[in-house]
């Protein structure tokens, strides 16, 4: 049996956990002196050895990313934290920064030292006001305590950290679009190469990492890479925050070694809601193909979820029970991708509109069975042809739902519309939905 392993979440229940005093009381900022006693390359080596892979969805090895920074390039180096958490279902970085912003700040300092950056940025989505307040306060406290600024802890190392609020754009979670936003431009992805490690922010060598990746670094430095690598599976080391949402009895954040299964997590969460059963789920947000109850025992690591036909993504486990119409669910995600398409490339800009039209017609029961082939053909023209992963992601829910629930699409045609009662899926009793209808 896999058990939970609180590391990043471990201090979230302490009194005023967001303050420097509470964080230092528990040994916070101990990674700084340990890192400063090491050569920067040795810090990179330790992160490589830990096996930490990016926690923002793609799973690229963090230490290797840092190693790509050309240290002979005379331009300044930058660290940018991707705190634009917006992938539907993903809700781990926001509570982390709300409860313990200093974990992230400490990680930023150690990571910046490793790549030899003297300026770092936290690009946080603008729609989370209180999280931004807590980050601003944490950075201010860290400056006053000498953890940021000039000659940190007498090490001779200088670092400035800027908290930068975005303004509402899912695409800015894509790292090169994020850089455009941070440079004061429309958030549209850049052609790669050059990769950000070579020419990123202000055309300078830049590392962009997810919040959870950077927040994991202090624990690796303090406890050692072997400690981290001792958790998880062979190629997916360490722990991660698994976010359970939807029709489960106790939704929330569950920090566990990679490789835990959804069955284990649902058991811990008290099962699905009373009298209902799991119908479909996303392993890592809406851009990762849907899975079904037959995948309950798939180890939630990068390799196993990939082998099951999906992606681990951000471990955003959205759980839907049998009351949920999969066509309605997928249509809504498709509308999301259409809304968020940045417009730069034709397959995504035009394709997401076509997908939405075809999906909407099917959902209303107005299409024909041939529309399913049209949909798959449209997906085929987007997947792998879009400029960035947003277009690819838009196809995931559609192709996977047709794979597993083709009959449900057809039922909309024979039924002349959606055969489900949306009131049966809500978190509140249906009496409330009836009351709403009565006054409408």
């Amino acid at each position: 049996m896999t058990t939970l392993t609180p590391v990043l979440t471990d201090n979230w229940d302490t009194e005023r956990a967001w303050t420097l005093a509470a964080y230092e009381e528990r040994g916070g900022y101990a990674a700084l002196d340990k890192a400063f006693a090491m050569a920067p390359d040795d810090v990179i080596a330790a992160v490589k050895e830990s096996g930490l892979r990016g926690r923002g969805g793609a799973g690229f090895p963090t230490g290797m990313k840092w190693g790509f920074i050309p240290q002979d390039n005379p331009r300044p180096k930058y660290l940018v934290v991707n705190a634009d958490e917006s992938e539907p279902g993903t809700c781990k970085d926001i509570p982390l920064m709300m409860a313990s912003p200093h974990t992230l700040v400490e990680g930023v300092i150690v990571s910046s030292y490793a790549i030899r950056a003297n300026t770092a940025f936290i690009y946080v989505r603008g729609e989370v006001l209180h999280v931004i307040r807590r980050l601003q306060r944490a950075v201010q406290e860290a400056y006053l305590a000498g953890h940021l600024g000039k000659n940190i802890h007498g090490s001779g190392y200088d670092l400035d950290l800027v908290v930068h609020a975005g303004a509402g754009a899912y695409i800015c979670g894509e790292e090169t679009a994020l850089l455009e936003g941070l440079e004061g431009r429309r958030g549209q992805p850049r052609l790669r190469p050059p990769f950000p490690a070579v020419a990123g922010l202000y055309a300078s060598p830049t590392v962009i990492n997810n919040v959870e990746s950077i927040a994991s670094v202090p624990s690796i430095i303090v406890n050692g890479p072997e400690w981290f690598a001792g958790m998880g599976t062979e190629k997916s080391n360490g722990f991660g925050i698994f976010s359970l949402s939807g029709h489960v009895r106790t939704p929330g954040q569950y920090e566990a070694p990679l490789g835990i299964t959804l069955r284990e997590l649902i058991d811990m969460a008290g099962g699905m809601r009373e009298g209902h059963e799991l119908k479909f789920w996303t392993p890592g947000g809406s851009s990762t193909p849907l899975l079904t109850p037959e995948h309950l025992d798939v180890p939630l690591d990068f390799e196993s979820v990939g082998a099951a036909g999906s992606m681990l993504g951000t471990r955003a486990l959205q759980l839907f029970d049998e009351t949920t119409c999969v066509v309605r669910a997928v249509l809504r995600w498709t509308e999301f991708y259409k809304h968020e398409s940045c417009g730069k490339c034709t397959p995504c800009r035009e394709g997401t509109w076509w997908l939405t039209q075809t999906m909407a017609r099917l959902e209303k029961g107005e299409g024909t069975e041939a529309d399913l082939d049209v949909l798959l053909d449209q997906c085929d023209n987007i997947l792998g042809r879009a400029f960035c992963a947003l277009g690819d992601g838009a196809t995931s829910p559609i192709t996977s739902s047709i794979q597993y629930f083709r009959d449900e699409y057809l039922a909309h045609l024979t039924h002349g519309g959606c055969p489900f009662d949306p009131a049966a899926s809500t978190a509140f009793p249906s009496s409330m939905t009836t009351a709403a209808g009565a006054t409408a």
Partner: protein, 215 residues
């Protein structure tokens, strides 16, 4: 309304935070909204002049990001998540109920200028679905009834708190914080809401921890 010297000074102060001034544009537009109640032509001109770029370039940025508004926003921006998970869990019904109760459509403001209603995309609080945001503060686990209560309280001037955050400020005050000028509310509210602590609570009960470190 014209931007006063103080605002011009603060806009320049934002640009000066960055190695290259143009990086300040997003927070500068947040500041424009906090002063003007929306992104105004004058605010666009001011940003352009300070950054040495054209008004068209600023306009291109201002129209790309959904948090920037061209029409006046009410004192309270109420966003109901209608992305799939929240929609299924009740967000669609909450949004319908609020449209009816407030007699406005999507992205419209009540006649008294108090509430602007908008349906929003995933706001990273799915474990608290269905979620509503007021001035980008979390209002977790909403029902149609609770959502109506919140907007009624706001319209009648009663103090409302985020379910895991501070007292709600006005939209303009919120925009000022986003521009990088903090208010005094960081210490209000808990560290985490109940769902954020769900796994930790179980780990505590069962005595589960991360492995000890081999010394």
């Amino acid at each position: 309304m014209s931007l006063d010297d103080n605002t011009w000074g603060e806009l320049r102060e934002i640009a000066a935070r960055y190695p290259e001034a143009r990086s300040g544009l997003l927070p500068m537009l947040h500041l424009v909204q906090s002063v003007e109640g929306r992104v105004t032509p004058e605010g666009i001109e001011a940003c352009a002049e300070i950054l040495g770029i054209s008004a068209a370039e600023v306009n291109g940025v201002a129209t790309f990001y959904t948090m920037y508004k061209r029409k006046p926003v009410g004192d309270y921006h109420v966003g109901v998540c209608t992305n799939t998970l929240c929609a299924v869990m009740g967000g669609d019904l909450i949004f319908e109920r609020l449209k009816d109760h407030l007699d406005v459509g999507n992205d419209e403001t009540t006649e008294d200028g108090k509430i602007t209603l908008e349906h929003i995309e995933c706001n990273a609080a799915c474990d608290y679905a269905p979620v509503m945001m007021v001035n980008w503060e979390f209002m977790d686990n909403q029902t149609p009834e609770s959502a109506v209560q919140v907007v009624d309280d706001l319209r009648e001037g009663r103090e409302v708190h985020s379910t895991r955050g501070p007292r709600l400020c006005t939209w303009r005050e919120a925009e000022r914080v986003l521009a990088g000028f903090p208010d005094d509310r960081a210490d209000e509210g808990p560290a985490a809401g109940p769902a954020s602590l769900a796994g930790l609570k179980i780990a505590r009960e069962k005595g589960w921890t991360a492995p000890e470190v081999d010394k």
